[in-house]
């Protein structure tokens, strides 16, 4: 029995090594560039694919290890290309832009990997000379696991030496604290940032390459690892390599033993560990409260909508209400999609634009709303309207639980925690087959008979989403909305005028979650089905792109953004390589139109007003 537990411990430690490699790279890159690199999982996946190609070609022991190292080096150069072509241009942008841009890279890499290596899972060879098991306390332990257990601490030691004992390391640590100052002291930041990005990419590539003998290489590796890597970085403390190591060990070992008690625990265990750590140490085990915020652009005060604006809004509303008269098929479906997207984007904007809490996992609450409504119909047998009510209630409950932790943090920490929370909910819907149907989703969730006519359901959607949008607008102008804005502008000042900011942010988080849940409820009855991808990272990023497209600075922005997004998506999804094309579109938007559609319209209006003689 003793031997069995020891074997579990060793398995945990072996898993920790690879998790540590990817998380440390993420942490180092964040420390210097302040970019949350979503594409880090893609680098890990590329490392694995390239290593697979190399070790299946190069012979023998020498060939295996050469292949692993070469794969990591190749990944480092791919990382350098990403840094030079894309990230260098957006270092001074708000974190949202950076995240969305790196997600564009994720999409492009996915399509590239699909084109090169195909969609089949690839099983790599065992590592030569390490392909057997040794018996420790009577239990068989793979030799390769033992090698991994050694590699982790060795790499940690090497990174430590690199950072503490070389001039390059001192410069990197200095840049982590104040990059502008490092430049003013004569250090070429381009070289420093690119080299840092290469080191981080090398570690991700190495982590991926070392996994080849242990598990199959596939196209899901990128997003599967990134959520875990974020959790490790947050637990360890952003920018701390030692922290990443300790956190990787804690999570992997806890997992190895946790699965003995309950096999599905690996889905929620990282989050539980993170929750405990963040309550005790809000900046992670080895983190410091150094700035976790990206650049922010000062926003103009809110003004009431001018009469002309109200008139335009009324015309749009009447136009929407008359839509069923014009058409009963395609346009109505698109119209419902638009309404759902607008409410989803506006609820996210309430959280991040008004509240300054950037969420990378807002789809979780949309998905909760959708699943709760679907389950209410299918499992509880409730009629449509009560089921639709249950959607936002469930979403609010989820937002209440996760939000309690999230609002304890700010900036990138908060964003990463929201993402981790969404990943956990996604994992639960994916794995809990008996209730959620797993990958097959829940089918046959259709509106009640009285609402089965497209036009009737369109009016329901219009009423619910329209009411949601009005409520959001009202909140933004209310004292509560002002408190959120104030907390975003200066948390110090909010606290100094007697405001319990965290409590208000928590309520804001719950409200935004509930409104996303309304969108989810409307969505599920319009589609008749729901699948785990409604909660997936991809859908959260869709919301972010909508907000970004419309412009974060404007209350109307998310409406424009959602409309543009739905139309673009409707077109792109019909094309081959739609992921890559979509990725390129995202990059183009981030690099070329940083203030979104509403920003562009605003600039145009200013221009027209200037032309008109006053």
């Amino acid at each position: 029995m003793m031997g069995f537990y020891f074997a579990q411990l060793l398995t945990g430690l072996a898993n920790a090594s690879s998790l540590f490699l990817i998380a440390s790279g993420l942490s180092i890159i964040f420390g210097v560039t302040r970019v949350v690199n979503f594409a880090h999982g893609s680098l890990y996946m590329l490392g694995a694919y390239i290593a697979y190609s190399l070790v299946t070609t190069l012979p023998g022991v020498f060939g295996f290890w050469t292949g692993v190292i070469l794969a990591a080096v190749a990944t480092a150069f791919i990382g350098a290309a990403i840094e030079i072509l894309i990230l260098r241009r957006i270092y001074h942008s708000p974190e949202l832009f950076q995240l969305v841009a790196t997600f564009g890279v994720v999409l492009i890499v996915q399509d590239a990997a699909l084109a090169i290596w195909g969609s089949e899972d690839l099983l790599g060879p065992r590592a030569p000379l390490l392909d057997r098991a040794v018996r420790i306390f009577g239990e068989p332990i793979p030799e390769y696991d033992l090698a991994l257990i050694v590699i982790g601490p060795v790499v940690l030691g090497l990174i430590w030496l690199l950072f503490q004992r070389t001039r390059w390391g001192i410069l990197v640590r200095a840049a982590t604290q104040d990059r502008e100052m490092v430049g003013a002291l004569g250090v070429n930041q381009h070289v420093l940032f690119t080299s840092t990005f290469m080191v981080g990419s090398f570690l991700a590539g190495l982590g991926g390459a070392l996994q080849v003998p242990r598990e199959s290489v596939n196209l899901l590796m990128d997003l599967n690892i990134i959520g875990q890597a974020f959790v490790v970085v947050v637990i360890g403390g952003m920018g701390s390599v030692t922290g990443a190591f300790v956190a990787a060990v804690i999570i992997s070992v806890a997992n190895a033993f946790g699965v003995l008690v309950w096999p599905q625990i690996s889905l929620i265990l990282p989050f539980l560990v993170m929750a405990v750590v963040l309550i005790v140490r809000p900046y992670g085990l080895f983190g410091t409260p150094a700035s976790a915020h990206g650049a922010s652009v000062p926003e103009a005060p809110l003004r009431a909508m001018p009469p002309a604006g109200i008139a335009v809004a009324a015309i749009v509303a009447v136009g929407a209400a008359l839509l069923p008269l014009a058409d009963d098929g395609f346009l109505l479906v698109l119209g419902i999609d638009l309404l759902v997207a607008m409410l989803f984007a506006a609820s996210l904007h309430l959280l991040m634009g008004v509240g300054g809490m950037v969420s990378f996992g807002h789809a979780a609450y949309f998905g909760l709303g959708a699943y709760a409504a679907a389950l209410a119909v299918k499992s509880l047998g409730l009629p449509m309207l009560p089921a639709m009510l249950l959607g936002p209630v469930a979403a609010a409950f989820g937002a209440m639980v996760f939000g309690w932790f999230c609002v304890r943090l700010s900036g990138v920490y908060l964003a990463m925690l929201t993402l981790a929370a969404a990943q956990i909910l996604w994992g639960i819907t994916f794995q809990w087959q008996s209730v959620t149907g797993g990958d097959d989703g829940i089918l046959g969730v259709w509106p009640a008979r009285w609402a089965s006519d497209r036009a009737v359901y369109f009016y329901i959607a219009l009423a619910l989403c329209g009411a949601g949008l009005l409520i959001i607008r009202r909140i933004a102008h209310s004292p509560f909305g002002y408190v959120l804005r104030g907390g975003r502008d200066s948390a110090l000042r909010a606290e100094a005028i007697g405001i319990d900011l965290k409590a208000h942010q928590w309520l804001g988080f719950i409200l935004a979650g509930a409104l996303a849940g309304v969108a989810g409820s409307v969505f599920v009855f319009s589609k008749g089905s729901v699948f785990p991808d409604t909660l997936a990272i991809g859908h959260s990023v869709d919301g972010l792109i909508m907000v970004l497209l419309g412009g974060v600075q404007s209350l109307l922005g998310p409406l424009f953004g959602a409309a543009a997004f739905v139309l673009i998506e409707d077109w792109v999804m019909r094309l081959d390589h739609w992921r890559a094309i979509f990725g390129v579109i995202i990059l183009a938007i981030v690099l070329l139109a940083p203030d979104g559609i509403a920003g562009g319209v605003g600039r145009l209006l200013t221009l027209l007003r200037l032309r008109r003689p006053a």
């Binding site: 100052m181 002291l185 930041q189």
Partner: protein, 233 residues
């Protein structure tokens, strides 16, 4: 040595510097005076390449430096000491100095770690301490020492006396004197006319981004209304 000609700098839509023209000669200490928000820091940041001026020219030792990256300005011999003491808080004193270290240059005084520890004895005692744990005055000294490690020919000091105690301000004046005697040119921005008078050879006053006065302190005293209006004395 440093010539700034008709510099115009914007932050977003705000026009911060309007046709700023000034020059610093070799071995000269120039005081850049003006109120908060007058454009002192922006002038320095424009010279250093930390913001890109929209028009105008910056030449240093005969070379055009307009809009060059900060690291190029530094390598050309410009040293920059920012306001608000931006030390690398988690690095030790010695590591902070290492970040600033550059090769000696033939045309400028060169500084070694030992010389700087001689000039700033407090820092010598605390070389292994994280900079974030130094007192405010010591941090201010460290930012200057760190910049001197780059062996600059001209040093830009942004409000060195702001927010530190009177005793340290006096030490700061001595340090500026020492830099001048070693052959450095200095441009120091100040709101405190007393301090400027103590350390500088000549003054430039800017207000709302425009140069309002340029000349010696004697000339400034001869026209007291200028100082009263622009510095709100």
């Amino acid at each position: 040595m440093l010539e700034v000609t008709a510099l115009n700098t914007f932050y977003g839509g705000a026009h911060i510097l309007r046709d700023v023209t000034l020059a610093v000669g070799p071995h000269e200490v120039l005081a850049l005076l003006g109120r908060n928000g007058a454009g002192k820091s922006t002038t320095m940041r424009s010279v250093m390449g930390l913001v890109r001026p929209r028009s105008g020219r910056v030449t240093f030792a005969g070379a055009d430096m307009t809009g060059a990256a900060p690291y190029k300005a530094c390598r050309a011999g410009l040293g920059y000491v920012p306001e608000d003491r931006r030390v690398f808080r988690e690095l030790t004193v010695a590591e902070n100095l290492e970040v600033g270290r550059r090769e000696a240059r033939p045309d400028a005084p060169s500084w070694s770690v030992d010389q700087l520890f001689g000039l700033f004895p407090n820092l010598a005692e605390r070389r292994g301490t994280a900079a974030g744990r130094l007192s405010g005055g010591e941090q201010q000294m460290l930012t200057i020492a760190r910049t001197l490690m780059g062996n600059p020919r001209l040093i830009l000091l942004d409000e060195p006396s702001e927010g530190i105690s009177p005793l340290i301000v006096e030490q700061m004046a001595q340090v500026i004197g020492e830099m001048k005697s070693r052959g450095l040119a200095v441009m120091v921005s100040e709101q405190n006319l007393h301090f400027a008078r103590l350390v500088a050879d000549r003054a430039v006053i800017i207000e709302k981004g425009e140069v309002r006065f340029e000349g010696t302190f004697a000339a400034l005293d001869a026209a007291p209304e200028i100082a009263r209006e622009t510095l709100a004395l």
